[in-house]
Symmetry: C2
Subunit: 264 residues, 2 copies
């Protein structure tokens, strides 16, 4: 399987602390050694760092932990390959463009019969993973549903939730997707989140000997949500998402949610 990490914040915030923990799971404290990638949004632009090498040994991952890129939305993925070879075109996150926005997607899980059940017309995959195929299907479905009309956030992501439920029937589908403004998470079986806000305290990583005092790093108005497959700290309370549940975040705040059968 793989591990996911994402962030939504109301001020540009770096993710060095959380990423320092996660990257250890890519070949050190965890088995996810088949590549990794991270995408940072700065306004409507985004930049990604990717490596088919294990994150725990990657010079690029080291740069990302040491170079604080301030971002309002981040999506990160470390991979343990189950569908598709270990190579750059199969490395998450995947990116497409729609409605003048970069869309970034990462998936944890495995899907069966995806080529038959999720037929694609416009947005063709570049690699061979079930994950990228499902992303292309979502982009196709958004295009078919809304055309050139850009829906509002709730309408848009309620439909993404509906699509996620369909995909989830094919296997395990823990999803992070963002257009840089909204960050959407769908839980198939394993996803946690935490919103940090004033009064900020200290936190300690599970996977590395590192502690941060968020009070020193933030202002009183900062709101930062972090989503991860498994909690990254052992002295904070993370929200465990239940199977079939989805959450929509914007500027760090949870703005909508739903569960299997209620969405769409």
């Amino acid at each position: 399987m793989c591990e996911l990490l994402a962030m939504s914040a109301n001020v540009p915030t770096d993710i060095c602390f959380s990423f320092s923990g996660l990257m250890q799971r890519g070949g050190n404290t965890g088995p996810h050694k088949d590549g990794w990638g991270i995408t940072f949004y700065e306004g409507k632009g985004c930049r990604s760092f990717k490596d088919p090498l294990p994150s725990a040994e990657s010079a690029i991952a080291r740069l990302v932990t040491e170079y604080p890129i301030k971002s309002e939305a981040v999506v990160c993925h470390i991979r343990q390959a189950n569908s598709g070879a270990v190579c750059l075109e199969n490395t998450h996150p995947f990116i497409r463009q729609m409605w003048g926005r970069n869309w970034t997607y990462a998936h944890n899980g495995q899907l069966k019969d995806f080529q038959k059940e999720l037929p694609i017309k416009f947005h063709l995959p570049i690699g061979t993973t079930d994950s990228e195929h499902a992303f292309c299907w979502i982009m196709d479905q958004l295009h078919l549903q809304f055309g050139s009309h850009i829906p509002n956030d709730i309408e848009l992501f309620s439909f993404v939730a509906h699509l996620s439920e369909k995909i989830n029937k094919l296997g395990v589908f823990n999803l992070i997707i963002t257009n840089g403004e909204c960050l959407f998470a769908y839980c198939s079986n394993n996803l946690h989140w935490i919103t940090r806000r004033a009064p900020f305290g200290k936190a300690s990583l599970i996977d590395a000997e590192m502690e941060v005092d968020f009070h020193q790093e933030t202002t009183a108005n900062d709101v930062v949500t972090v989503i991860a497959t498994k909690p990254l700290t052992d002295d904070e309370t993370w929200q465990k998402m239940s199977a079939g549940q989805w959450q929509l975040f914007r500027l760090g705040e949870a703005i909508a949610k739903g569960a299997e059968g209620l969405a769409g």
Copy 2:
């Protein structure tokens, strides 16, 4: 204006030497300090490094010079802004997906009346540059011309040459575009290239005190073409492209060319 750099090779080759020269022109030996970006293809996958900071001062640029990523196709751009603010979404290269391929594009020059003369329907820009707008127009035109039928390389890039001529009428349009297999260059007023093959010799950078002996770095079968706005070395013979001329490269070799009035 800006400067372009690109590479096409028949074996995965690093571009550290050429990039070491070019990055000096981003705020040190040249005025192109409004951001930079580089995209490396590895198979059908690609990864980009981008920074809105000057390349001469960028920690990410330093990583790229020190970390030899082996690639068959590279596109690089350092920016001196003339259209669109200095920010990540206006930083080249730009990437879109078509026919199961990543398409990477970088432009040097400036275009007038591009919004009126190059109407766009499907591929919407994310930033505000003339460059990205022209790229989106090219992608739209390819879609309209060929639909889901993937043309052969010569047919495809002869059409890109035809589109380049049209865009060039709006101003200055030095273009690099690649789908990872073929690398296409269109010269509006300033573009040079060189193909290195056995017997390999030594070369010295113009912009930094650095010399390389390609004989030590290569095998007898390697063929590597480098394209740049201005020659990067002072002891080799670079081909100067003339106005309206285009060149198509594949696996390091020049496979087709044309000139104004002959293309398309």
